[in-house]
Structure formats: C-alpha cells, structure tokens
Amino acid sequence: MRSAPLRAFPEILEPAAGPAERPPGVLDAPELNTLLVPTLSQDQGWSAVAKRRFHLPDLRPLLGPLALAASLALALGLAFGFSYGDLAAMPLPHHETLAAASPRALAKAGRKLAAGAPRGVRIEVDTIANRLYLKQGDKILRTAVCSTGTGGLLVDPHSGRRWVFETPHGVHRVLDKKKDPIWNKPDWAFVEEGTPIPKTEAERLDPYSLGDYALYLGGGYLIHGTLYQRLLGRSVTHGCIRLGDEDLAAIFKATPVGARVYIY
C-alpha cells in the first residue's frame, strides 16, 4: 500500500513533457497547501523570518536538551522531595540517659518547671487583642480592656530623633506603684504636640494625664489611666498600657510591687 504513492513522487517533481496523468488518490503540492496543511518552505517559517530579521541563532537544536533538562528537573524535584505524614506520628526526641527518664526524675523535672512560675498574682497583656488579664495560678481574677502602643514612628523634624511607640514584649515586673501620679513628660510628647521642648523640669510635669494610679514597669513604661476612655481597646498609646478607671483601681490594689507582667 505504501509503495504506490512513493512511486508517484518523481513524476510530480519532474513532470514529463506534457501533462502527466496522476494516479488516483495522490495530491500535488499546490492542492495540498490550499486544501489540507499550510506547509511553508524552509525560508518562510516564523523562525526563519525572525532569524533573518533579527539575526537570531537557530534554537531548534536546543529544544531537545532543554526538554530533557526540564524533565530531569521535574523528576529530581519529585524524587528528592519530602514524604509527609501526620504530625501526631512524628518521632519525638529522646533523652539520652535512662536515669533522666525514671519516674522520680520526671516528677522532679516537672516540679522544677512549676517552681519557675510566679506564685502570686501576675499580669498578662495581650497587645494585639488589647486585653489585660490579672491571674493567679490557673485562675483569671480580672479581664480588662486596655490600650497598648500604636507601633507608630515619630520623627523630630528639627533634630531627626526617632521614637517607636511599641509596647515591649517580654517579661517585666512592677517596680513601683503610685497614687495620683504626676507625669514627667518626655521630649517626644512636646515634639508630637508641636511645642518647644521646655528647659525647666517644672514645665514638664503633668498631673492629669496618667489618671488616678500608675504601676511602673521600667524603661518609661507604665500601666496607668487615661483621659481618652473611648479609645480603650485600640492600639493608640505611646507604649504604655492604659486602663479604664475601675479596672485600674482594682489592678492597682491587687498587684503588689514585684509582680510579674507578661506582655505578648
């Protein structure tokens, strides 16, 4: 079946004198181009045109190696990847010495861990939810809505000094407690207000802004009251923790100096 059309090719390419009679079922090139597949000659293809116009190298010889490289990369990625299982089935690290795994040693290690926790009341501050918890052991004694730092940046246009108003994460302690505290306003308070920084200490004192009570955490950070009660629950402060009057009074009374304050 294949030999019949092959025999017809020379006759089409080099026709004998006069119109040759084609065998049935054999098409010549013009008919094929118009009816079936638009076959281009070697110098009419897009790559040939692009090559001539832009002096591009012939990339066709690279197609094979590129396909091989891509396939190899896929196969390597799949073969050297990770095999995943449920986290619960994860092999846990072992302790090297068997003595450490005895019931007595385990109980001792557990006691040691529990001993590190504070026995008295403690304060926990969730800076993202703007909540303050007064806790003792596993019990929550009081939950209060608070305000914490904006995380904003203040830049002094004159000196170029910068302040970041973030409530610091970590472990702190109540270093001091004061009733009717007076705020010794730092430089940034004047920079933010757009007023000149005073030269005397007396001009810095503000007896109203901190509310009725203040618990000092060190580094200039306090737990205090606020004039802006409507902003409680939002991150609006300069790093201090602001509370409503009632919550502040309760926490001031319940928290001794030295109590731990966990801010996260």
Binding site: G77, L87, A89, G116, Y264
Partner: protein, 276 residues
Amino acid sequence: MTGIYRAGRPPRFSGLRGWRWTAGRRWVLGLALALGLAALAALHAIPGNPATALPVAPPGPEEQAAALAAENAAAKTHAIYLALDPRGGQLDLKVDGLLLRRFRVERGLFGRPRFGGGGGVLPVARFRLITELPEPERPLIPIRSPEGAGAGSSSLAVSEARAESMAQMPTHYRLRFQPPLEISVRGESGVATPEETALDRLWRLRFRLYEGWQAVGHRLIGQTVPPRIVLYLVPEEAQRLFMTLDPAMQLVISAPPAPEALAAPAVPAASAAGAR
C-alpha cells in the same frame, strides 16, 4: 489511500552531537518521559504514609524527659517561647512554664526528606528561631500644631493604620530554626477535615517540587536537609502567630503525658493495697 507531498519540509535537526532526532526516537523518548513523570506524580497523588492512620502511642518516659529538660531550659531564660505538642496538635505561647496563649492547629504534617539524609528524627527538643523577621510597617505619627486637633484624633488615625497593617500580615510563611528545623505555617481555612482529591494533591505538587529542589541544593553543598513541620492554622491565627514572634525566639517540642496517665495513681494498685 492518500499520499502527501510536502514541498518545503524543514530539515531534521539534531539535539546532541551525533544524535539524530528521528520521529520515532522523539515519540519513544517523549512517551518514556511522560510515563515516568506521570508515575512520579501519581506517587504524590496517592495518600502518603498509611501508618499515620494507626493510633499513635503516647510519649514514653524518655521522650517526656527530653521535652521537660528542653522546657526547663527555655523557662529558665525568662523569655516568651513556643511549645509545640505534636501528639496533641497544639502550639502554645508560654513563659516561665505558664501558658499565655494557645494557637489552634487545624492540621499538622511532619515531613522528612526522601532518601534519608539524617533529617528524619529531631536530634533535640529545643530550637532557636533564626529567620530574620521583617520590620513591621510603622505608620508615621503626624506632628500636631499647638492649636490643632486633640491627641485622640491623630492617635486614632495611627491606630487604624496599624489595624490595616495587621490585616496585611502574611498567612503563609516559613520559619527556620537552629538546630535545623523548618516550620511552614499555612493559614488556610477548612483543612481540619481534609477531603483531598488527587487533583488537590497534584495542585500542591508545586510546593513539593520546590522543596525537592531545595533538598537537592542542600545535598549539593553537603548540608543536611532539615525535617519540616507544616502547621495549618486559620488565616487569622496564622497572622496572629506571626505578630507574636520575637527574634531568636525558642521553640520546644513538648510531650505531655497522656491524660489517662495523669489520672492514674502514682503508686501501682498492688503496692497501694499492701500499704498500711
């Protein structure tokens, strides 16, 4: 039968020196590659380790000892740390041994590199975060004019800017620890009851491919491929976890005893009965 004559047939090209790309060779090679890739893809598409469906044994005394030693060491630093309980599927934020906040893990996966590489079992139970956390975008606080609006209004604007930046926190991120461990956090909803189809697995193949190439890279430079933990949290929890992270934060693999072990009496029943 129809014979076809192509007047301008392009010349055959050769890919490699001495190699002729014939139509037959192209087909055979293409078919072989396609079959190979399909087989590998199918390997990934079928469910992973069937052993994971079996009930998991509670942590033994040696595992508890390792976890307690690690947690004691972390608590001793008086810094906030993370405690991951693989058996219970919980990620806790703790300090001084106290629980501050629990992140609900919808689903957790543990991945180890194929072909061993020493990264299958965690060597220790305490790790330190080495991923450099990006500095959060800080809203600039406007300077008020002395006779301008009150403090509340500008603070509120900054607060709103902060809330916006919090909403833009990443839900998908990767945390690297030392000794080598990677935790991939994926904030995705609806993964608690995974009804993954083969198509889903194929879609997830893009992660697997990237991990595989990374593993090849590690091998090439002679490094151990670290094991990987994938934690699926709801997007808000993933963002929340990201905001809670501190530089060089510690991670402890905790192994609390099973609840029934805690409820059981410390003294064996026989000796308790014999005691006066």
